[in-house]
């Protein structure tokens, strides 16, 4: 495996195989894929018994400073994995730009060396898909509700109307502190409700960082705040039930839930590139 930065115009890999994912090919009736890979590369399957590795032949690494190019490659990488998933069932994805040198022979040798680990993962993830749940709220909408509902905030507002300027200044600080505290409690309560909603159907759950990617930040206004971002590993048959449970949380004013999937189990599958 190689991931050294390099000039993409120069061949840097000998008989390389850019790896997309691993699938269980035992039930599959196809040996060709209709999708093309990065830069329209022809994607093929290399099989070892019933284990298939999806790859394309390459003599270059995919390293660039051009963000638009990188985005196109990433989209193509995901498109191949999605297509393979719809044909073969849950794929075990590789990260972007994992390349093995030495042609199909090297791929087969690598599978052979990691066979047990691959079979365990294929069994574990069979029929399971990743769903992403992003819980966010419009801060100003939620604040309006809190200002109306919270007795303590009402009390401070009332006190403020009956005092001098100096005391008003401290009451304003007290009001803001209380507002922040109530909003944090509301966030915690929503996170608890989210955990309860996905517990029944999730095989596994993992929290993502509160800071979203640049792509997700595109077009987001200042009042939007993330409350929770989780990835759920669930059976496809439980998708509707999972979505219905989430609808119950989205009824809160200002609260919005993005529920996407099924995705390949990017957040759960072992990182095969890590120790090769």
């Amino acid at each position: 495996m190689s991931s050294e930065p390099t000039d993409p115009s120069q061949p840097t890999v000998t008989d390389g195989r850019y790896l997309y994912c691993i699938v269980d090919a035992s039930d599959a009736k196809v040996s060709q894929l209709s999708v093309t890979g990065l830069d329209d590369a022809t994607v093929s399957l290399t099989t070892y018994d019933d284990i298939a590795v999806v790859s394309h032949a390459t003599d270059q690494l995919y390293d660039t400073d051009d963000i638009a190019q990188l985005r196109r490659w990433l989209v193509a990488h995901q498109a191949v994995i999605d297509e393979v998933g719809s044909t073969f069932g849950t794929p075990l994805p590789f990260q972007f730009d994992v390349i093995l040198e030495g042609g199909d022979e090297a791929v087969i040798q690598w599978v052979e060396a990691n066979e047990q680990r691959i079979r365990t993962a294929l069994n574990e993830f069979r029929g399971a898909w990743e769903y992403r749940v992003h819980l966010k709220w419009d801060r100003s909408d939620v604040e309006s509700v809190v200002r109306e509902e919270d007795d303590r905030l009402q009390e401070i507002s009332q006190q403020r109307a009956e005092t001098g300027e100096g005391t008003q200044f401290l009451l304003d600080t007290q009001y803001e502190e209380r507002l922040t505290e109530v909003l944090e409690m509301k966030k915690a309560s929503l996170r608890d409700r989210l955990t309860d909603a996905i517990d029944d159907t999730a095989r596994r759950v993992t929290s993502h960082t509160a800071v979203p990617s640049l792509k997700e930040l595109d077009g987001i206004d200042d009042d939007t705040e993330w409350v929770a971002r989780v990835a759920v590993l669930a059976d496809k048959s439980d998708e509707t039930e999972l979505g219905a449970h989430l609808d119950d949380i989205a009824v809160h004013p200002g609260v919005e839930i993005e529920f996407t999937g099924p995705w390949p189990p990017y957040s759960f599958a072992p990182d095969f590139a890590e120790d090769t």
């Binding site: 005092t163 001098g164 300027e165 100096g166 005391t167 008003q168 200044f169 401290l170 600080t173 007290q174 502190e177």
Partner: protein, 104 residues
């Protein structure tokens, strides 16, 4: 996440960086004083007159800090620097709680 201030530029850059640093620290102290004043007000330790006087002094201090920031043209850089510090502290707390959980 790192925090940056212009302190290695020409004379003007150094002066602005230094002012940003000083006013950021004063801002933080002012915020801590306000929190402490609210805590005392809530505890019932102070009379109404004392609360009014304390509040008036802190209001004046806060207004003076804002005036200085505007006058020196560092209001945006103070906000930016404080934002960086907040992120740094939040990350440190997350790291600390993660490593504490790991050791439990």
């Amino acid at each position: 996440m790192s925090t940056t201030l212009e302190l290695d530029d020409d004379g003007e850059g150094v002066q602005k960086g230094l002012l940003t640093l000083v006013l950021s620290l004063v801002d933080i102290i002012d915020e801590a004083l306000e929190k402490e004043a609210v805590r005392r007000m809530e505890s019932g330790e102070l009379t109404d007159e004392e609360i009014e006087r304390l509040g008036a002094q802190l209001k004046q201090l806060s207004a003076e800090i804002e005036r200085l920031k505007q006058q020196e043209g560092v209001d945006e850089s103070v906000d930016e620097f404080r934002g960086q510090l907040d992120t740094l502290v939040a990350d440190a707390i997350t790291d600390l709680s993660t490593s504490t959980e790991r050791h439990e």
